[in-house]
Symmetry: C2
Subunit: 204 residues, 2 copies
């Protein structure tokens, strides 16, 4: 409900416009469905604003191509074709990241996660994108593949107008502490509890 | 995480494949962000499967055009152009629904909500779409503009393979009772609490 009003006015010396356009660090966490889907929905909004959007998909296998990738790449194609919307890049871990030409070892997920994060740091420093989707990035943090202090400092001190959304279960408390917006997706009822498996179009 | 396994095997006489492809009634509720965004993310998955997707946006004013509408209509354009993905229709309340040529009164929201629901019932009966997004449909239900018993019976007894996702705060308990999947988006932290207003690309 975009009509909602702030419940407090801060004394940060910013004008309403400056405060309104302040770049956000968002986290979608919890055990429920919708963490990634909502992040990809945000990518639609960014595309519509003509923003450069970078999606970095951690954890999921390269064999697994989800519908959102095809759809967002189709929107990127419209941008290339006639300048509609913004450019969208989709990079995923699993058999080497898109920007590194070499094929990575499927086994060495830790090294791949670290490589992905190093590239994201470079891009944040260059202000390459306006919106970053770090999908399932909580897992490599929790598994110790990426250093949480480095993540917190990098995201907190990123330059310019760069929005970042991080998804995944069990987000690290230090990440939540620096986030501007945190939503917990809570599972109230799920078909898997009734013995139903995931299905195409719904889970991917 | 699509790797998740069912926690129970039901004795419903269905094969795994039949059970897997059973149409779902999904509800995104709670006070947190991401209810609608996640539903529009599901529309991307449906589009990618070549499904016919119908979005019915309740409550939001017709003057308010969100980024997802532009993006999903662009994807629909790709379908029309060369058959990529599926067709997506976006209908919204506010100055009359898209299918009714007359301009509705801005004031009579109750009648417009009832008209929207009547059309959705017709479409469910005709099996017009494979995925229905009933965005912010919990509000007209809670305000008594649409009869909850009618909603429950219609959605429960809908024919064929039609997935439905309903979004909005305070979903009616009877709706939750018949839903297959319920996610509650809980607000943990929101920039509005720190005095920040909504901004383009993030809230719309």
């Amino acid at each position: 409900m975009p009509q909602a009003q702030p419940t407090a006015v801060p004394s940060d010396g910013l004008t309403t416009r400056q405060r309104r356009n302040r770049p956000l660090l968002m986290v979608h966490t919890g055990d429920g469905k919708g963490k990634s889907t909502a992040a990809f929905g945000l990518a639609l909004r960014g595309w519509n604003q003509g923003w450069s959007v970078g999606v970095f998909q951690f954890v999921k296998s390269a064999k697994w191509r989800i519908g959102e990738q095809t759809a967002l790449e189709a929107l990127d194609g419209l941008h290339t074709q006639d300048g509609t919307g913004g450019p969208i890049e989709w990079h995923k871990m699993g058999s080497g990241w898109s920007w590194s030409r070499r094929t990575g070892s499927e086994e060495d997920h830790a090294a791949q996660a670290a490589e992905g994060w190093a590239e994201i740091k470079r891009r944040l420093n260059e202000q390459r994108h306006r919106l970053y989707v770090l999908d399932e990035f909580t897992y490599p943090i929790n598994w110790g593949w990426v250093d949480i202090d480095d993540v917190v400092a990098t995201l907190r001190d990123r330059p310019g107008d760069q929005h970042v959304v991080v998804t995944g279960r069990r987000a690290h408390p230090d990440l939540l502490a620096v986030a501007d917006l945190v939503t917990e997706m809570t599972k109230v009822k799920h078909p898997m509890d009734a013995g139903q498996k995931g299905q195409r179009g719904i889970e991917w």
